[in-house]
């Protein structure tokens, strides 16, 4: 009988090939959903089998922004709210590269809100993943554009007096070609959605609801991260293909998740090339004589 000696090598996780293992364990709190979403992103990259040299990840500031520092790809951690402008430049300079943008709700849609709507309008070929934890987690849990009405944060101690954004409706209204919303627990559907979004030409947007046990969950008495995950599990209803206007995040009744938009539209690069080609073609009108006419 052959006796297998215990290996001296540390165990290797299947996602370690895409992970900067020397930086693990990461900074995210115990139970934070960003790690799960990060795992789904890596799973989708492995599943799609795309060339890793032609793939880049750009992130903004915040907890989710750290994702770019943990992935073993060409990645860049930009300034606050400017992940999409950087990604736009990258995509236009290297059109063959697939560009993933990962960022939190505050970074992407509050500080970077203007960049977001214009990138969607231009239909720049990016895959934007918004990790929505309903507050500014890293800076101490302040109110964000996603904070539900009446939720307590350090900047809204009596409850948020504002109505939150419906990010999916915003993205669809601005012209995104792929819009979906999932929670951190819909991990298989989320992985499939990221794969689909990466293969889609144009501005694809994914919103992922994640627990934030240290900031939002603690102040709103949502219990542990596991309780928040169970809350999402019990309340979420899958409605594929509905108008994102009706895909409400009503935390008292139901959280509508699913794939809402999947359409085709020429991207910015297509339009840019078409316009330049038209410009470069000789005009059909007869050429006007050059120079001054003799009197």
């Amino acid at each position: 009988m052959k006796i297998r000696k215990p290996s001296k090598e540390p165990p290797v996780h299947p996602k370690d090939s895409l992970l900067r293992v020397e930086r693990i364990p990461h900074i995210w709190c115990p139970g934070c959903g960003i790690g799960t979403v990060f795992g789904a992103v890596m799973g989708a990259i492995q599943k799609s089998g795309c060339d890793l040299d032609r793939l880049a990840m750009v992130s903004g500031i915040g907890c989710t922004g750290r994702m770019a520092g943990y992935i073993r790809l060409d990645s860049f951690h930009t300034t606050h709210g400017r992940a999409i402008p950087f990604a736009t430049g990258l995509k236009l300079a290297r059109p063959e590269t697939k560009v993933l943008v990962v960022s939190g709700d505050g970074d992407l849609l509050a500080i970077g809100g203007n960049h977001f709507i214009h990138a969607a309008r231009r239909n720049i070929d990016l895959t934007v993943i918004c990790v929505n934890n309903l507050n500014y987690g890293m800076t101490g849990g302040q109110q964000a554009p996603s904070t539900p009405f009446g939720a307590r944060t350090p900047t809204s101690v009596a409850g948020s007096p504002e109505e939150p954004f419906n990010f999916c409706h915003l993205a669809a209204a601005c012209g995104a070609v792929y819009v979906a919303r999932w929670t951190a627990l819909h991990i298989r559907l989320l992985t499939n959605a990221i794969t689909e979004a990466m293969q889609k030409r144009g501005f694809s947007f994914l919103e992922v609801l994640t627990p934030c046990p240290s900031s939002f969950g603690r102040r709103n008495k949502m219990g542990s991260a596991l309780d928040t995950l169970k809350f999402y599990h019990d309340r979420s209803v899958i409605r594929n293909g509905i108008d994102p206007r009706d895909a409400l995040l009503d935390y008292d009744n139901q959280i509508v998740v699913g794939r809402f938009v999947d359409i085709e539209r020429p991207t910015f690069t297509d339009n840019y090339e078409a316009v330049n080609l038209r410009h470069a073609m000789p005009s059909p009108e007869p050429e006007r004589p050059q120079g001054r006419r003799k009197p």
């Binding site: 364990p25 990461h26 139970g31 934070c32 799960t36 992985t191 169970k230």
Partner: protein
């Protein structure tokens, strides 16, 4: 595993079986893998890891059906499933 009827190709197809590997020092003890294991294979251990968290431990190894859900859900990349080559 109990079936409501015996599959016709049971002998040929076999049952999928997995071995769970926990990278103990990466775990932060969130308990996602334990709560969402469909077979109840895992349990919170009483011991501590290097960082002072309770990592999960395997209590019912033969019940693991290699669904890889713990692997997908773990936010710390601390647990994964190995499928042995031979199916039993």
């Amino acid at each position: 595993m109990k079936y409501w009827r015996k599959p016709l190709d049971e002998a040929a197809a076999g049952k999928s079986r997995g071995e769970i590997v926990v990278i103990v020092d990466r775990c932060k003890g969130c308990g996602f893998c334990i709560a969402y294991c469909p077979r109840g294979v895992l349990r919170l251990s009483s011991g501590f890891n290097k960082k002072g968290y309770h990592p999960p431990e395997v209590v019912n190894a033969p019940k693991c059906a290699a669904c890889h859900f713990c692997e997908a859900l773990c936010p710390e990349f601390a647990i994964y499933v190995v499928e042995p080559d031979t199916k039993t």
